[in-house]
Subunit: 507 residues, 2 copies
């Protein structure tokens, strides 16, 4: 007879040690993108490649596979949402997926990702797509091989999407993003036709970086990011990463001519960080203590960035603090002027600087292009032209160069193909979950206006963060909101906010 | 017949992969001491412990031992100073040493070191030696077990000293430090009796940290530290570490009331960094591309800090730059006032802030105490009193509390027992090697006064850095200077510099 609890402990110990190794790799990557000297890139690739190989060995350890096999059907799996059943189910799923991949491919991908990012950084700075193209070609080739080897679902893309959004299918994402696009295109067109615009110049006054840093930290701390268990550093392309149960690293960048850029990116990353810090530490590195998907992760960052940070209520509380830090720049600005300026909607070139409404059109461009690259319907050399064409079609603008176009994002250079749609899923989940929290807690806006963010954070901690992977993203959303994922909540939110500002229909 | 070149390549590949893993551990430690959030300490200990165990497995891999065994006596060992012979000799020595240590002890030591440093940091901040004592007791117990297991040389201490100063023996260090102490005591007494003192207050004017940062970077770059292949960050206890062949990390700390503290600590760490950056990258992680000993490493840091940085010639060149950065603080100060202020000699409490002459008395206190702890002649509980007594005897002062006394240094908390004497060996090597460089290059002072530091750096690169471990520290010094290590060069240097300042005998 199998001693399931003893076996289960062995599985957990194995996973915990893997998590320690994984967190070391995360530190290597964090350092690469924050402090590492430029010349150290090639040796850093050696370091990350070595760790990736070791991690692959542990993830695909046949002993682990046997243990998991023996646990299937044991009493520990009786309740599918329990921590034990979740651990066994998700680890087994992950094991079977990874076991398909040859170590050679995993190591090649790890190295290509590090070198790709370094090549991308140089190419972006020099506006030289051709210099980056060979690296990108290799990455696409390796990712295609990965997708073919995984052979999950109906199309190649399913296998890559699953890395970021487990259990999600390309066909479902295509449907919901299609519906979203139609309603968004209408809204964006109405706003453009309104002829109205806020005074965005007030955000472009000279904002010294040290003061922006202070405001950003203040805002992140106010919404509940715990700086005793985390940090905020500078980088080129902001991200958040966890290096351990009590070590969450946020990063941001600063522009002296746009104070909104770093402020909202800091709130965004802090939203990710609050999720990480809300995971149950006793299950660190195991499915019950891990984020359920990138879509849900992004729902947390977007909720704090947009549903909280871009709300009028938030600025009722926070604007006096901003004025105190920037008396010369914001002293003559009213709350409403500022609120509108940070909610300005208009087609722009850069995804990370785009507004809440047009943002998802940027994602749809990438979602379509990366599927075409993967399927071989589009060659890397054709990518810049295809990118520009789609921007013209969907957003009505054409990038003047590749730095402001196809070279703007880090993702593909690091091998992250299948990642982009999780941003839009995140926006949709954010809207739907925020509406549920608002119903459950009643009057979030009044709380924000009083500077009370703890009730929302606690609701998210209890209902989303603590759930780990006990329910899939889609299951969790349906469980908490009573309906499957729909684009309607986001459209409703946008119209309710933007209607009064631009004089377009509010619902 | 053995194919020695093929075997040798296998050995090198093995060592190179070990070096990659070792550099990852170094990154974990660097981050712990610069940016890691306080709450992340216990997980960081898990990370470092895991890596230490993996490293131990690789260092003691029986396959490696067999390969090395087969290479002994091969044609590759014909010239003892060749890269191949050095690799085989030093790796075999290291293998045999490490193979004696059980993995359990190695992991316990790694964990005790991380937790010990964290405990020390808190105890130092709270001036609470008792809170740190249990950790230190454990460390002493483990280090004693290590020394007993290694059983190198005539006394327990030999085994620990060898980690930092390979091939060196306690009895020889005791002799040379004894001779140094006698001559130093005389010099320090003469200076005290002179009744003369510089105006140190000029260094204690309000020096903003950002400006100090600028001056420190400028000085480090001027003497030849390559910021394209390295960095300078803030920490509590300055150190330098290498995270790869092109990734050297310096750290320093800043005090607004003592501009000399960070400036000379930056020059010191930059000296270490210049050694690291001067090692042959193609041998990275192998004996021909590794530092020969901590004593020689320290000779490089002390040479740039004291023999260059505290020379009058250096300030002839650099003082106008310092005045430009600090016009309000240094505008009314003369070169000679400043030069004397940074060369002030008097007994003080803190080793890292002490002057060139009394510094070695601080080391002798630690060297004697750690031997007594290890042999069991002194209990941890008796350490603070013993520390204070020795300070009274050797320096004529008694620390008012343990933060300014026994808790000031990080070393013991991290398991580094046997490290301290390498500081004094470094001072002695620095004096002897600097004299040789001066003879070889002729008129270093004139070069410094013109801001020319490259000739000295190049001489060090070619004669010391490029030599790696092809000669032991003692062999290298004798090879370059024509005589064995002696305390006389340091005494000569100190008397030549301090004689005119204090009106005592200059030779």
């Amino acid at each position: 007879m199998t001693d399931a609890p003893r076996l289960f402990e062995q599985v957990c110990d194995h996973a915990r040690e893997t998590a320690v190794l994984g967190s070391i790799e995360a530190l290597c990557e964090w350092d690469e993108r924050t402090y590492m000297p430029a010349a150290a890139g090639s040796y850093r690739a050696d370091q990350i490649t070595l760790l990736a190989g070791m991690l692959h060995d542990r993830h695909t350890d046949p002993q682990l596979g046997e243990w998991l096999e023996q646990l299937v059907g044991s009493e520990l799996t009786a309740d599918p949402h329990s921590d034990t059943a979740t651990t066994i189910r998700e680890m087994r799923r992950e094991f079977e997926k990874r076991a398909k991949l040859p170590k050679r491919l995993v190591e090649e991908l790890a190295r290509a990702a590090v070198l790709g990012q370094q090549s991308w950084q140089a190419a972006r700075a020099a506006d030289d797509f051709a210099a980056f193209a060979p690296q990108l070609e290799q990455i696409v080739r390796l990712k295609r091989e990965e997708a073919q080897t995984l052979a999950m679902g109906d199309c190649l893309y399913d296998g890559l999407l699953d890395d970021f959004e487990p259990h999600e299918k390309t066909v479902d994402v295509t449907r919901v993003l299609g519906e979203l696009r139609d309603d968004l295109a209408l809204l964006v067109a109405e706003i453009a036709a309104s002829g109205r615009a806020p005074n965005r110049d007030i955000l472009a006054r000279d904002y010294p970086i040290d003061d922006q840093r202070r405001l950003g930290r203040q805002a992140a701390a106010a919404i509940g990011f715990d700086f005793g268990r985390g940090r905020l550093d500078d980088t080129t392309h902001p991200f958040c990463t966890g290096l351990g149960p009590d070590d969450c690293r946020l990063t941001t960048r600063y522009r002296t001519d746009d104070m909104a850029d770093s402020l909202f990116s800091t709130l965004h990353e802090a939203g990710h960080g609050i999720y990480d810090q809300g995971l149950r530490s006793e299950w660190y590195g195991l499915p019950p203590g891990s984020a359920v998907s990138l879509g849900i992760h992004e729902s947390q960052s977007r909720m704090w960035e947009n549903f909280v940070g871009r709300s009028r209520a938030f600025w009722q509380h926070f604007f006096p603090q901003a004025q105190e830090i920037f008396p010369a720049q914001l002293g003559d600005v009213t709350l409403d002027e500022f609120y509108w300026a940070v909610n300005d909607v208009r087609p722009t070139l850069i995804r990370t600087e785009s507004d809440e409404a047009t943002y998802n059109l940027h994602i749809i461009v990438r979602f379509e292009l990366e599927q075409a690259l993967l399927e071989g319907d589009l060659q890397v050399s054709e990518l810049p032209a295809a990118w520009n064409e789609k921007y013209q079609t969907l957003l009505g603008i054409t990038p003047p160069n590749d730095t402001l176009g196809v070279l703007q994002d880090i993702h593909w250079s690091g091998g992250a193909i299948g990642y982009f749609p999780t941003y839009s899923l995140g926006n949709l989940y954010a809207a739907q979950l925020f509406a549920a929290a608002d119903r459950a807690l009643g009057g979030l806006d009044e709380m924000f206006a009083r500077g009370e963010f703890l009730p929302l954070k606690t609701w998210l901690n209890e209902n989303i963060h603590a759930s780990g992977q006990c329910r899939s993203a889609a299951e969790l959303a349906e469980h908490l909101t009573g309906e499957p994922l729909s684009h309607r909540h986001l459209i409703k939110h946008l119209r309710a906010k933007l209607g009064p500002l631009y004089g377009v229909a509010a619902g």
